[in-house]
C-alpha cells in the first residue's frame, strides 16, 4: 500500500483492451441482437441470447484468471460522460465485486438456459440480457452516477420479467416491486446528490461522482452529514436487498416470478443492495456507517429471527424459499456491519453463496413445479420414490442452504457469526438461532415434499432429465467447490476487505477492527501501527486524483497490505 491511500490504489490493468467495458456491453449488445431477431423465430432468438450469455461467462472467467489477488481496483477504464457534472463512465473491479460479477454471469446463463420457456423466448432473452448488463454494470461502476443509473435500470427488465412470465398475481407483484424500489431509490438519490454537492467545495467547487474522489472528500464532511447521507443510502439499499421492515415486496415478487426470473431476482438483484451498502455506504461514509451499524445489525437480527418464523409457517414450497431469502440477506448485512474482517468477508461470501444456493433452490422448485403443477405442501409428498435423483439434487441444494459443513453455506455463515461475535457478541448469539431454524424449515420442507406416502400424482413423478441436471450442475459444482476449498476466493477477497476496513479504521480510529491474516482468524495489532490513513496524505490524494486509463501503470505499491501484521507503518501515515 505504501503511501497510496487505502482507497486510492488502482492496480494495473494487464490487458490491452477495456475488458470491463466489454463485460458490461456484451449482454447489452446481445439484448439488441436478440430483439432484432424476427418474432417468428423463437429458436434463433434463444440461441443468440444464450450465445451472448455464454460469451459473457467466458469473458468473466478470463477476468477471474487475470485478476491479481491484491487490494484496489483493477482493469479500470474511464471515459468522460457528462463532463459539466463530473460524471464519467468509470468501471473497475476489486476483490469484493469480482465474485459477484462472476456468480451473476453464471446464474444468468443458467436462468436463461435452464428453465423451459413458454411464451416469447425473444422477449425473455432480451429482458434477461438487459438485466444482466445492468446488474453487472452496477457491480463494476466506480462512478456513483453510473451506479445509480445501472441500479435503477435494473428495475425495468426485472419488472417486465415478473409481469410477463410470472404467476397469476404477477402484475401486482411486479408493480409492488417496482414502486417499492423506486421509492427507496428516492432517498438514495437525494443522499447521493447531497454527498456530491456537500463535497464539491472541497473539490475546487466542481461536483464529482467519482467513487474514489468522493471517498477521499467525504471524510471532511461534518459528522452529522455523514450519518444522514449514510441513512439515505441505507434506506435505498435496504429496500433493494431487502432488510426487514422494507421486505414486503419480496415474497410476492419472488413467488410470482417465473423460475428464471426468481433465480436472478433472488440470486443477483439482492446483491445490488448488499454490495451497494458496502461499496457506497461503508466505503464512502465509514463514520456514518459505524454510527448506524447498531441499527442495521439490529434490523439484521430482527430479520433473521422474524424471517425464520415466517418461513416456517409457509405452506407453499416456492413461498418458503422466497421467505428464506430474507434470512440469508439479513446474514449478509449482519456480516457487513460487524466491521470485523471475518464478518465483512463472510458477508460478501454469503452474497456469492446465496446467489448459488438460492438460484439452485429456485431452479429445483421450478423443476418440481413443472412436474407437479401445485407447490403446496398439502399436495406434495413422497416424490423421492419415483424420482430419486431429483430428490438427491434437491437435498444437496437444501443442505447447502442450511449450512452443512463441507458445502458453501457453512463457510460464510461461520465467518459471519464468528466475525459478529468478536465485535457484537449478543447480536451474534441471537443470530445463531438461525442455524437451527434454517434446518427446521428447509429440512421440514424437504421432508414434506419428498418423503412420506406418495399420493395420486406424486407417485409417478418424472425423473430429472440430463438437460436439467446439466443446467443445475454448474451451480452444484460451485456449491461444493466453495464449501471444500474457498481459499482461492478468500485470497482474492481478503485484500479488498482489509483495505475497506483499514479505511473504516482510518476514518474512525475508535473502531477496533479485528482482521484476517493469511487466511487464519486472528486479531490485528493496534490500528495506529499498521494502518496508513493515506486518505489524508498528499501522496494519496495525488494518486487518487490522477485519471487512470485502461493501460495506466500500477499505483505505487498497490499490492501491499494484504496481510495486516506484515505491513509496516506507512511513512506518511497517521497524519490526520
Amino acid at each position: 500500500m505504501g503511501s497510496v491511500g487505502t482507497v486510492g490504489s488502482v492496480a494495473a490493468s494487464t490487458l490491452g483492451f477495456p475488458i470491463l467495458t466489454v463485460i458490461v456491453f456484451l449482454p447489452l449488445g446481445g439484448a439488441i441482437l436478440t430483439a432484432l431477431v424476427p418474432a417468428s423465430d423463437d429458436g434463433l432468438a434463444r440461441r443468440v441470447g444464450l450465445l451472448a450469455a455464454v460469451a459473457e461467462v467466458g469473458f468473466v472467467a478470463y477476468l477471474l484468471v487475470a485478476f491479481k489477488p491484491v487490494a484496489g481496483f483493477q482493469f479500470v477504464s474511464q471515459q468522460p460522460w457528462i463532463g459539466s457534472f463530473g460524471i464519467a463512465w468509470k468501471v473497475g473491479v476489486d476483490g469484493i465485486s469480482l465474485f459477484l460479477v462472476a456468480v451473476s454471469a453464471l446464474l444468468f446463463l443458467v436462468a436463461m438456459a435452464g428453465p423451459p420457456l413458454r411464451g416469447s423466448a425473444r422477449a425473455f432473452m432480451t429482458w434477461m440480457l438487459l438485466l444482466e448488463a445492468a446488474c453487472i454494470g452496477a457491480f463494476l461502476s466506480m462512478d456513483l452516477f453510473l451506479f445509480f443509473v445501472m441500479f435503477e435500470v435494473t428495475l425495468v427488465p426485472a419488472y417486465f420479467l415478473v409481469a410477463g412470465w410470472g404467476g397469476p398475481r404477477r402484475n401486482y407483484a411486479a408493480m409492488k416491486f417496482f414502486i417499492y424500489t423506486f421509492a427507496g431509490s428516492a432517498f438514495f438519490f437525494v443522499a447521493l446528490l447531497s454527498l456530491v454537492f456537500l463535497t464539491a467545495p472541497a473539490h475546487h467547487g466542481h461536483a464529482t461522482f467519482d467513487l474514489i474522489t468522493l471517498t477521499r472528500l467525504a471524510g471532511g464532511l461534518p459528522h452529522a452529514d455523514q450519518v444522514l447521507i449514510f441513512a439515505g443510502f441505507a434506506v435505498g439499499f435496504a429496500v433493494k436487498a431487502p432488510l426487514v421492515p422494507f421486505h414486503s415486496w419480496l415474497p410476492d415478487a419472488y413467488t410470482e416470478a417465473s423460475t428464471g426470473g426468481s433465480m436472478v431476482l433472488a440470486g443477483v438483484m439482492f446483491a445490488l443492495g448488499g454490495y451497494g451498502i458496502l461499496r457506497l455506504g461503508v466505503f464512502i461514509l465509514p463514520r456514518g456507517a459505524s454510527d448506524l451499524a447498531p441499527v442495521l445489525l439490529t434490523l439484521a437480527v430482527v430479520g433473521i429471527t422474524y424471517g425464520a418464523v415466517v418461513t416456517i409457517m409457509q405452506r407453499d414450497l416456492k413461498r418458503l424459499v422466497a421467505y428464506s431469502a430474507i434470512v440469508s440477506v439479513a446474514f449478509v448485512v449482519l456480516g457487513e456491519f460487524a466491521f470485523s474482517a471475518q464478518g465483512v468477508a463472510g458477508g460478501v461470501l454469503q452474497m456469492v453463496n446465496e446467489s448459488l444456493t438460492i438460484g439452485a433452490l429456485f431452479y429445483m422448485v421450478g423443476v418440481v413445479a413443472e412436474r407437479r403443477g401445485a407447490l403446496r405442501f398439502s399436495e406434495l409428498g413422497g416424490i423421492q420414490k419415483s424420482a430419486p435423483i431429483l430428490a438427491a439434487v434437491f437435498l444437496a441444494v437444501v443442505l447447502s442452504a442450511v449450512g452443512l459443513p463441507g458445502l458453501n453455506g457453512f463457510v460464510s455463515e461461520f465467518l459471519v457469526l464468528a466475525g459478529t461475535f468478536v465485535t457484537h457478541r449478543w447480536w451474534a448469539v441471537v443470530a445463531t438461532t438461525a442455524i437451527i431454524t434454517g434446518v427446521i424449515y428447509f429440512l421440514w420442507a424437504y421432508q414434506r415434499v419428498f418423503h412420506g406416502p406418495a399420493r395420486a400424482a406424486n407417485a409417478a413423478v418424472r425423473e430429472m432429465s440430463w438437460g436439467e441436471i446439466a443446467a443445475v450442475a454448474p451451480l452444484l459444482a460451485g456449491i461444493a467447490f466453495l464449501g471444500v476449498y474457498p481459499a482461492p476466493l478468500l485470497d482474492r477477497l481478503t485484500p479488498s476487505v482489509d483495505h475497506l476496513l483499514a479505511h473504516v479504521q482510518s476514518a474512525d480510529p475508535a473502531a477496533h477492527v479485528p482482521r484476517i491474516s493469511g487466511g487464519a482468524l486472528s486479531y490485528s495489532v493496534p490500528a495506529d501501527q499498521n494502518v496508513d490513513s493515506g486518505l489524508q496524505t498528499p501522496a494519496g490524494a495525488g494518486a487518487t486524483a490522477a485519471p487512470v486509463g485502461a493501460g495506466a501503470p500500477a499505483g505505487a505499491g498497490s499490492g501491499a497490505a494484504s496481510s495486516a501484521s506484515a505491513v509496516p507503518a506507512a511513512p506518511s501515515g497517521g497524519t490526520r
Binding site: S40, N171, F187
Partner: protein
Amino acid sequence: MIQSVLFAGVGHLAQSGSGCLGPNGTSITGLCTSDNSLHMPVAYRSILPMLVLFIGALVLLLVSALLSKRSRPGLYPVLSTAVGLAALVASVWEWYDVGNRGVSTIGGQIFYDRFSVFFGVVVSVTVVLASLVSDSYLRREGLDGVEAYALILLAGTGAVLMAEAAGLIMLFLGLEIMSIALYVMAAYHRRRTESGEAGFKYFILGSFSSAIFLYGVALTYGATGSTRFQDIAGYLARNTLVHDGVLLAGMALLIVGLGFKVAAVPFHFWTPDVYQGSPTPFTGYMAALAKAAGFAGLLRTLTGALSSQQANWRPVIWLIAVLTLLIGSVMAIAQRDLKRMMAYSSISQAGYVLVGLQAGSAAGTAGSLFYLFTYAFVIVGTFAVLGLIQGPGEARNDLGAIRGLARRRPGLAMAMLVFLLAQAGVPLTSGFLAKFYVIEASVQRGQYPLAIIAMLAAAIAAFFYLRIALLMYAGEGEAAGPAPALEPAGGGAEAAGEAAGEAFVADGALTAGLQPVPSLDGATATLTWEPPPEERIAIPPAVAATLAICVVFTIAAGVSSPIIDFARHATAMI
C-alpha cells in the same frame, strides 16, 4: 383597466426613453442607435423566429385564399413544417449571433439573449413535430384545412414572444397571442361536444387567469414603477421597500396567472377536461408549448426580475411544486381515460420544472430548460401514439384501447414504452436526466425535503406509467381468465406463463381472474375484461417519422450531454 396599464407602460417607456439597454443599463450600440422611443429602430434579428412563424402563418392563410378549397390536401402541413424548420434555422443562427450578450431591443421591450433563443429552438421544434403529427389526425377526422396549421404557427408566435419579452407587457401580449390560438385549437373538433366544451372551459378560465395576470402586472408596476424586467430588478436592487404589500400581491397574482398556463396545482382544474376534449395531437402541442412558454415567463419574472425577492417567492413555489407533484401523480392513478391520465401526468411533470424554478439558481434554470425541451418531444410523441390508437372520431380513449398494442403494433408500443419510461424518469431516457438536473439543483440549494418529495412523486407516478406499459404488453385475456393463459405461446411479446406460472394459473385462476382481487391487481384485471379492438392501426409515414425522431431524441438526450450544455448556456436571465 387593461388600457390604463397599457398606457402606463407606454408612458413609462416614453418617459424613460429607453432604447436599447445592456445588462447594466448601459446603452448597447450595434443593434440600435437611437434613444428616441418615438422613432424606434427595429432590430429584426432579435425577433427573427417569431417573425418567421408569424409571417409563415400569414403566408399559409394567403395561399389558402388563392387556392381553391381542398385542392392540395397535403400542402399545409408541409408548409407549416417548413416554416417551423425555418424558425429553427433562424433560432440556431440567432444562437451564434447573440453569443453571451443579453441586450434589450425594440424600445427595450424585447430581450435578445440565449434564454429567448433557447425557447425559439424549443418552440420551433414543437411546431415541426406538431405539424407532422396533426396531418393524419385531421384528415381522419375530416378537419383538414389551413386553419389548424395557421393556429399552430400563431400559438408558436405567441410562445416565442413570451420568451423574448423584456417586460410584463410583452409577456402579456405573447401570452394572449398564444392562448387565443390554443383556445381555438382546443375547440377545433367541430363534431365532438367534448372539444367544444374543452375550448369553452379553456377560454373562460384562461381569460380569468389573464385578467389576474394583468392585475399582477398593474400592482407590480405600482410597486416598482416599471413593467420592464430590468427596471424592476434595478429598482428592487436599489431600494428596499418598507411596505412591500403591493409588490407581494402583484407577485402572487403573476404567479397565479402564469401558474394557470403551466397547469400548476391549485390552478390546474381546467387541465383534465381540456386535455381530454381537445383534438389529440393538439393536446400534445398544447402541453409542450403552453408549459414551455409559461415557464419561460415564470423564469423571466421570478428568477429574473424578482430575483431579489427570492425569500418571498421561493416558499410559495415550494408549496405549489409539492402540491403539483403529489396531486398530479395521485390523481393520474385514478383515471380511466388515457388522455385524462396524461393530463394529470403533465401536471405532475410541471411539478419538476417548478422544482427547478424553486431552486432560483442558474443550475435550477438549466434543469428547467432541459426539462421543457426534452418534455416537448416526449409529450408530443405520447399524444401522437394516443391519436393513432384511439381510432376514428376519438372513439376509444379508455385504458382498454391500448391493451395488447405490443402484439398489434410492436414498434408503436416500443415508442410508447420509451415515452412512458421517460416520463417515469427511468435512466437512459431524457426524463431521468431531466429529473436529475432539477433535483440536483434543488439539493444544491439545500432543499432536501423537496427533493425527496419529488423523487417519491416519481415513484407514485411510476405506477400509472407502468400500468399503461403493462396493458400494452399484456396478451389477450391473459389476466382475465384461465383459458388463454394456459394456451401455449400466443406469439408476440406476451407470455402465456411458463412452467411455474402455469402451475399457478391452474389452481389460482379462480382467485386471479374471476373474483375481483381487492388490490392493484384487481384494478388492472377489471380493465382487461373488454375485448381489445382488433382493427389494424395504420401508422402514417409522417407520424412514424415524428415518433422515430422523438424516440431517438429521448434516448440520445438521456445518455449524452449536449442538451444540458445547451441549456446551461441559456440561463442568464437579465
